[in-house]
Amino acid sequence: MVKMQNWSMKSGMYNSVILLRQCVMPTILFMLLGACGDDYREKLAGRGSHARPVELILNEDGRPVPSVLAEQQELNRDNGEEPQTLDPHLAEGLPSAHILRDLFEGLTAESSEGRIVPGAAIRWNISRDGKTYTFYLRRDALWSNGDPVTAEDFVFGLQRSADPATASKYAQILLPILNAAEVLAGDLPPSELGVFAMDEFTLQISMRDPTPYFLALLSHSSTFPVHRDSVEEHGSAFSRPGNLVSNGAYVLSEWVIRSRVTLVKNQNYWDADNVILEKVNYFQFEDQSTALKRFRAGKLHWTAGVPNNQFKWLQKHYPDELVISPWLGSYFFGFNLEREPFIENPGLRMALILALDRDLLTEKVTQFGELPSYTLVPPGIMDYVSPVPEWAEWTQAEREAEAKRLYAEAGYSEDNPLQFEIRYTAGVNNKKMALAASSLWKQVLGVQSTLLNEEYKVFLQNRERKILTQVFQAGWISDYADPYSFLNLFRTGHGRNDYGYTNSLYDALLDEVAAERIPSRRRRLMYETERLLLADLPFIPLYTYVTKRMVNPRLKGWQSNVMDHHYSKDMYFLKAASDEAPAVLEEIEISETGSEETTTTILLEEIDARGEGDETLLIEQTSQPAEPAGDPETVDPEQELPLEEKESVDPGEIKPPEAGTDDETVLEDSIE
């Protein structure tokens, strides 16, 4: 009894302070923002940058000469979230994939610029019909315990990956292999998989379909070999430090859950002489601001991302460290074609597509150099160029005029405005994009859209059921550099075809693409397929993703690539240009902006959870870097936000400070 009384006392007391809290919170926030004013930032800026490297000198093999290398070759990589597993066949998500690329080596690997190069296989033959691959393995490749890497290891690895008992989520990567579907379904034993060791160092893989991107799949972790003896000895614990035997450039030395995974150089690796980094620490940071603080303190050399809203500041103070490059992913909104008002209404869909100013959205909303997009397939896939729709060449004023015409033609007007809901899920950018699109539509056409923020899994379910959705956030980041991966999303019956798009001609074209072996013909077919899709307007293209991170300027050997795959074995540290040791900054030089950012983010979420849209806008505006007053025609979407839009928040939603705090979290599973 007594206890209960006290609880109610407590909640009563908390209630009474809510008012105070609401007043105090913004005050404190602005105190904070004021406290870290420009003076302090400028004071820091001079000391904040990292030491310049010496000039890079390469020898004839393209490797750096020893005299330019730093003495200490230990890399601290921010790996974002905790890796889900280090079992290559169970792996999913970026954090696992990054580490596994260092630990293991597949039949193929990738060069620093992302080209497919020989890995454990030194060369291969592909039969004329594209259905038989023969791989010749390196004879000098060893496991980290000294055992030779043989064709049997790959057979065992692929069979394990396909085995229903392994329950690999990514086993679908194996589907082009003969009998893989039947093995996965449990209809055939794993030994029937179309993989065969012809001798100790020759491996043959039989295919169900010719798969032009198959070599790229072989650098994916679900095709990696595993060391049979240690898997059989340790079972599911084989991927722990001390047990894990790997064939890549590094071996697992330590794993502190949710803190750090440490790899050290594998002395038995066939190319160990060319591996320069001796040790790689993968750190886990749930909060990108915290990671940025560590980076600025010199304790991290590579971050997984950068905090949103700090682009201008970072660009100004860390021009050499901030690295932004296109990523193989598209961000778009989908239409539900099975619900009003979008069924059989291409004119209306076109009006909405045209009304959005993509240059404005990428410049003012996403802000990190994302590329405005008019197609589905992002640029950067070798040899493929998307068909660009005609309206992409128009000026925005022309697009808007046409949008207005189409809107009126569809029967809508100021008195009879179009109303629909935009669904999106957690993530700072998702919210901003939805808000901006909504306000642009209102401004250009007078559309009244309602924003609905949904918890991730709820959002996915609603999308899939196609009962509630009208316009929804969508996107795709591909596992392999092939347009088919994107185009296939819109196939009738595809599990992620949440658009309800169905076109038998489109499906037939996709089938043709899948069967076509001659690259130029296949490219032309894909071009036609995408053109058909763009003409049918089931989605609203918005932008192409970019990767954004901070990299220590002394770290070299890596290159930006659309897959964002970076092997530690390619990297090395150069000496600092000055004689003194590389400046490791003291704790005092840690960014104050980081803490400010944290507050802002959490505050936003807190307010978000209470469903007070107006306040959100206010604070988001303060956290935007100030924009110079530009063209009077351009409207800052942040300032034109319709205040009457109501934000509906799922009542059951738990709002944690988001891991990853980025729109990419939505897609975490579609990556790697």
Binding site: P164, L175, A181, E592, P657
Partner: protein, 315 residues
């Protein structure tokens, strides 16, 4: 002698209530978790039905829900919480064990800090009731309760780590320096709350008849306070300690995130968002046992402090 058996009987009576409480909690959590939309394997990426079937089979999610429930209960009976669905290389037992060490350290340290300072401040304020000391202490305490820790934490980092440079701005290495800021931040609101609680009950106690009697028989004021007033004045604080300690040990998502600490709190939230059924259930049961145990301990202390409770239980 009589007193001891009363205590023991009271303890047994309380312990017997523990099992059904836990059972209800597990049941509710288990089915609520399954009712939530989506499952652990849902993602933007399509899963072929065969692969989904394999995954469900591996975690016994292909069985009827009731069968899963009883399977889970039999596992829990032997303290096996199963493998985590999200963190595949670790069992839930290992994850909770690792997070618990961190959370326990911070939580207990913060609790001790809050209890010591809270009661001291509260008593001081009560004894100087309606003076400037009282008003300023209670004013600060009100601020401590009102200002959320996601504001306090960055302010402290800003002042002590960034400007002064005395402490690290985050991270966890089991060193004292890395614990100071999170512990202080975590303890501040509780300190403030305890101070207010102590002040209130102390003032009430000081007005009661037995204090008047103690004074009347000529005891010096310091003895009146120590021998007669302190015990009853701390009763409400003690009963607050149970849930408060549990709250602190169970970890604070905000503190963990801002200071980058691998504690328990984020398993709860991340686990729920990822629909990591086994992890969430494990954490729920762990919290449940923790809260029940702490409440039990508090009730025992309470019974020891206040004989009325024992007699009620007996009758």
């Amino acid at each position: 002698m009589i007193k001891d058996s009363g205590m023991a009987r009271y303890a047994l009576w309380r312990l017997a209530g523990l099992i059904p409480t836990l059972l209800i909690m597990i049941t509710v959590a288990f089915f609520l978790m399954r009712v939530a939309p989506g499952g652990p394997f849902d993602s933007e990426k399509l899963l072929p039905p065969d692969i989904e079937a394999n995954l469900n089979a591996r975690y016994h999610m292909d069985e009827p829900l009731l069968q899963q429930y009883f399977r889970y209960l039999s596992q829990v009976a032997v303290l096996d919480f199963g493998p985590s669905i999200q963190y595949k290389d670790w069992t839930v037992n290992e994850l909770i064990g690792q997070g618990m060490r961190v959370s326990l350290t911070i939580g207990l340290a913060a609790m001790v800090l809050a209890f010591v300072f809270g009661t001291l401040l509260g008593i001081t304020a009560a004894l100087r009731k309606n003076t400037r000391v009282d008003y300023s202490l209670m004013g600060v305490a009100m601020l401590g309760i009102s200002v959320p820790n996601f504001v306090i934490a960055p302010v402290l980092i800003l002042l002590l780590a960034v400007y002064a440079g005395w402490l690290p701005a985050g991270g966890w290495d089991w060193g004292i320096a890395s614990m100071v800021l999170p512990v202080v931040t975590l303890s501040l609101p509780v300190t403030a709350y305890i101070a207010r609680l102590t002040r209130g009950s102390m003032i009430e106690v000081m007005h009661s008849n037995f204090i008047r009697s103690a004074r009347a028989k000529g005891l010096p004021e310091s003895l009146v306070i120590r021998r007669h007033a302190l015990r009853p004045a701390l009763l409400p604080v003690i009963s607050f300690l149970g849930p408060a300690t549990a709250g602190m040990i169970s970890g604070s998502v905000v503190i963990e995130r801002v200071f980058s600490i691998p504690g328990l709190g984020s398993y709860f939230v991340q686990g729920a968002l990822n629909r990591d059924y086994t992890l969430v259930m494990g954490v729920v049961i762990f919290y449940g046992v923790l809260i029940i145990t702490l409440n039990f301990i508090v009730d025992m202390i309470y019974a020891w402090l206040d004989p009325k409770v024992r007699y009620d239980a007996k009758s």
